[in-house]
Symmetry: C2
């Protein structure tokens, strides 16, 4: 049986609340481990799922991308159907497609988009409690917007990465960082070529300090320049954080997931 | 202790997934029963919570309104804080306020707004699975919009109410019925003075039949005129249905809950 090796790309949506993150870990339920188990049932062999990047425990995704190889001849659409039947309802395969053998979900990604969703008010939201982080006090959104501007461009983000981050090069390029005010919601939308470990969460907590008036917006460029993790805010809770989209060169296999313009 | 009787209005948000509806029932956990238990802990007496209307099992609310009476002197804001500390996270008191003794959450309501949220696609959504009803096939939204127009105005809604509905008068006035297309979402927004039992769910399922091409839009006025429950669609699943707002004469104590314009 001289079967051909195939490389299959999965576009994945998940609610991260009940998972210890994307990455397989010993003694913890991960998103990729859960999908790998379903894959094994369908393929009848273990497959290693390679994600575009790790998402932390509790972080959601609308458009995580991963790939794996197999020699099985099951059509991609049937694979998608079979996986969605096996997976728990908080993980959905939005698309499965054959891609060139050289496609690599992490190395080929040229842009990642993350969003933090804040719910601002004296009491948290019941309906959006897993989708938003509750912020008790009002935010100065224009100060946050000004501070966010300091992140845009290519910078050494040493001040904004976990001490446990093992990337050799701390330079990343932030393409845009928008702060949207849609009371009672505030959204932080950030696009970069890639992110260091905990970078989004540390940038967001620093902007939160600015929004709460505990840190002037003008401090942010200085914190960036200092390359000192002690100066930035703590790592913000993962609640309300979403990996929205991962982009690859050329035409997207799947367009950027639509965000509803008026989800109640 | 000649204490004064107070009438207190609560504005309530809840995710209905884990409740057997608003109304207290024997051997079932209801939203109002859960709040009444928390109220008893705070007030040290039983209080009967009177809602603007019943929501069915699984239906959510952004702005349910209810009232109860007490002679306790606890300030309304403290009552709100105490309730939110006691309540499970899927029920949140958005506001508590003293209102005139004659205020009656059901009788005084002049307008109710409901929304159905559909997620249209071959696979359901992971992130919005409790907030949306999954519709597998594409919808003809303009046909649905045309059909929805037939509901607007004062009509005998006998064809669109549960056989178990015990309202004496089957006439209700629908102020507006909008069908919004925001792919992959479709929203049905309906405002009326009041609704008969299951009316929103039966109107929505009939519009869904129209959207799926199983019933021409032009049939809907005829179904309405026939006053025959057999002719309308079945009662649609409650998933994705929300009581958005209840309006009272004069200035609203709490404005219509904002729906995010871009919740991911």
């Amino acid at each position: 049986m001289g079967r051909k090796l195939r490389n299959i790309r999965l576009d994945i949506e998940y609610e991260g609340t009940h998972y210890h993150g994307w990455q397989v870990q010993a003694n913890a339920v991960s998103v990729s481990g859960t999908i790998e188990e379903a894959l094994e049932q369908v393929l009848q062999h273990r497959a290693r799922l390679l994600g575009s990047g790790r998402t932390d425990a509790g972080v959601h995704a609308l458009g995580q991308v991963a790939n794996f190889t197999t020699e099985r001849e099951i059509p991609a659409e049937n694979l998608q159907l079979a996986l969605n039947r096996l997976l728990p309802r908080d993980i959905v395969i939005r698309r499965a497609a054959d891609v060139p053998l050289e496609f690599h979900a992490r190395r080929d990604a040229i842009e990642r988009t993350y969003r933090y969703q804040f719910f601002v008010g004296s009491h948290p939201s019941a309906l959006y409690r897993t989708l938003t982080l509750h912020i008790r006090r009002p935010l100065n959104v224009s100060a946050m917007r000004q501070a966010a501007g300091a992140f845009v461009g290519s910078h050494d983000f040493t001040s904004f990465r976990s001490r446990h981050c093992d990337a050799e090069n701390p330079v990343r390029t932030v393409f845009s960082f928008d702060v949207l005010n849609d009371p009672p919601f505030v959204f932080l939308d950030v696009k970069a070529n890639a992110f260091l470990r905990n970078q989004v969460r540390i940038m967001a907590s620093t902007l939160l300090e600015v929004g709460l008036g505990r840190c002037p917006a003008s401090d942010v460029p200085r914190i960036l320049e200092a390359k000192n993790r002690d100066l930035a805010g703590p790592t913000l809770k993962p609640r309300g954080l979403l990996l929205v989209h991962v982009r690859y060169p050329g035409q997207d296999a799947i367009p950027m997931p639509r965000t509803p313009s008026s989800l109640a």
